[in-house]
């Protein structure tokens, strides 16, 4: 990042960068509702510490880079509400590991971003603190659940935002806001300090404007962590040199099921998918079609297994150890009243669905069967990757939709996750990269999926599409700078 180079070489101070970013952050909050909390004193203090480290001769790969953090990820001394009333007032005791790694690399936290409550949503309309608007068109959603993180970067308040991706919550908002968004191979980035939604899916990822910035964030955030037993201890693949490698000779499979998706592809997304395939052919890739048959079942599998995990993970919010408390007459009443008043409708719906899927009499038919189909889907992907190196499909079947368009129909909202949940179920890395625009200038994103540890290849291919689309040159009309 040019900014990191400027701060690292002393041409500009981290404090000056932070001051400017705080101004922009305030504007992005006012215009789009992108942030839930800011703390200028903490931000400026951290920036001054970066200046001290630079002056002492430290080489910091992200020196002075301001970044935003989704509010379901802990940042020491700042609130973590996860977009929920039930965590109102909670202050994080320490950094999530991914945040600590970014801070160690010289990046500076400027604020916590709005999100769907506990990461449950695809439009950022499920936040207890109000929806987020899309900087490309404020009548439309930014995607979710990392909608505030996406809006913050698209509005140019920050060049980097951290999000969490359980079933597409980094990739889909990246697509809706014209950004690059990645989720890693499961375990490549530590989950320590993330407020758990569905532990076998949850991963931290990042949203940036460019593929180069995305790769730099990955290189810093990835790595082993003794505080997360699911964090991979194997060496982190080197992504920093990857974006320039091109696509020559790479076997890319166009996901066959994308063209027959339930409800169909929006015609502008279909056209962008075809253009992306042509761009890869022009770059020397070997483009074919590949089938992952059980992709069509991924939404049911995801919404049965992820909600089952959520019903267990969210049992901890009971009014005893943190957050808001209601009902003091009895312990059982305290649990019920605290949870009933604290959780929003979508969170309750998912807890009920997950509890149902795990309950006696229904477990084998729903949760058990979903787990078996999940394993089958992983085998489908393994078979597909014997014939291709990466799979290409749209990130979302449609561009950003209007606020309120799907709030009365939860199933329609779930079905929009059709392309993002399959790699989550199989623990595979995936990157969403801008591929062009709809006729009314809404961003469209394409998703590249690879086998485990294929992040270098995915960033290389994403860069090819970024160059071909020219999307990097356009700025959101709502940009605050």
């Amino acid at each position: 990042m040019a900014l990191a180079d400027a701060v690292g070489t002393g041409r500009v101070t981290a404090r000056a960068v932070a001051e400017e970013s705080l101004v922009r952050t305030g504007k992005a909050q006012e215009a789009f509702g992108a942030f839930l909390s800011m703390n200028a004193a903490l931000t400026l203090g951290e920036a001054e510490e970066v200046d001290r480290r630079v002056n002492a001769g430290e080489q910091l790969p992200l020196a002075g880079v301001p970044f935003a953090v989704k509010d379901n990820i802990n940042v020491a001394g700042r609130p973590s509400t996860a977009g929920s009333k039930i965590l109102a007032g909670f202050v994080a005791p320490d950094h999530a590991t991914c945040v600590a790694r970014l801070v160690q690399a010289g990046a500076v936290v400027v604020g916590k971003t709005n999100c769907d409550e506990f990461g449950m949503g695809s439009s950022n309309e499920n936040s207890a603190y109000g929806p987020v608007k899309n900087p490309w068109d404020p009548a439309r959603v930014p995607g979710g659940s990392s909608g505030g993180s996406a809006a913050a970067v698209a509005a140019r308040a920050v060049p980097l935002a951290v999000g969490t991706d359980t079933g597409g919550s980094v990739r889909q908002p990246a697509a809706f806001c014209g950004l690059v968004g990645w989720k890693p191979t499961y375990g490549r980035v530590s989950r320590y300090g993330l407020i758990a939604f569905a532990s076998s899916f949850d991963q931290a990822g990042a949203l940036t404007r460019s593929v180069d910035e995305a790769a730099r964030a990955f290189a810093v955030m990835a790595g082993a962590d003794p505080r997360d037993s699911t964090a991979l201890a194997t060496p982190v693949p080197d992504v920093l040199a990857a974006p320039g490698r091109g696509a020559r000779g790479v076997r890319i499979g166009l996901l066959a099921e994308a063209s027959s998706a339930e409800g169909g592809l929006h015609e502008d997304v279909k056209a962008s998918f075809e253009k992306a395939a042509a761009a890869f052919r022009a770059a020397g890739a070997l483009v074919t079609t590949v089938s992952v048959p059980r992709v069509t079942l991924a939404v049911p599998v995801y919404y049965l297994t992820a909600t089952a995990e959520a019903s267990s993970n969210l049992a901890r919010f009971d009014g005893v150890r943190y957050g808001a408390r209601r009902g003091e007459a009895s312990l059982a009443g305290l649990y019920r009243e605290t949870r009933s008043a604290g959780f929003g409708p979508e969170v309750k719906r998912r807890i009920l669905l997950g509890t149902f899927a795990l309950s006696a009499g229904y477990h084998d038919a729903y949760y058990g069967r979903a787990q078996r189909v999940r394993a089958l889907l992983s085998r489908d992907f393994a078979a597909a990757f014997r014939g291709v190196d990466a799979i290409l499909c749209p990130t979302s079947p449609e561009p950003a939709f209007e606020l309120g368009a799907k709030t009365d129909d939860p199933l329609a909202m779930y079905l929009a996750d059709v392309f993002t949940v399959p790699p989550s179920l199989a623990g595979l890395p995936a990157v969403s990269v801008p591929s062009g625009f709809s006729r009314d200038w809404l961003p469209i994103g394409m998703q590249l999926i690879g086998p485990g540890d294929s992040e270098p290849l995915l960033f290389a291919l994403a860069r090819v599409l970024e160059d071909a689309s020219g999307a990097l040159a356009r700025r959101a009309p709502g940009a605050v700078s």
């Binding site: 037993s229 919404y303 005893v320 009895s330 979903a370």
Partner: protein, 95 residues
């Protein structure tokens, strides 16, 4: 499968949630529609589902003692805290 309001009530009790009558009715309709859509999973032939279910078994770490002492924010974040403990409503009575 129809999710009746009574089943919603039973599941809500398991999840320590209270729902109003209107919420229960609405939830029953929405969950019925969602679960109906999910019935597609039942149509897969059993022969396809053989094999290892745990595609990503949870790795276990060595059982080594670590300093897990809570910092001062543990108390600051608690709704009620006294003598080093979280305070909850009385659970034991004389009767």
């Amino acid at each position: 499968m129809r999710i009746a309001p009574a089943l919603v009530s039973k599941v809500a009790a398991l999840a320590a949630l209270e729902l109003s009558d209107a919420e229960r009715e609405a939830m029953a309709g929405q969950l019925t529609r969602i679960v109906d859509h999910f019935e597609a999973l039942r149509e897969l032939p059993e022969s396809l589902l053989e094999g290892d279910v745990a595609a990503h078994p949870t790795p276990l770490r060595e059982d080594v003692a670590r300093d897990g002492s809570p910092g001062p924010l543990i108390e600051a974040n608690a709704p009620a805290f006294a003598h080093g403990h979280f305070v909850v409503p009385r659970v034991v009575t004389r009767d």
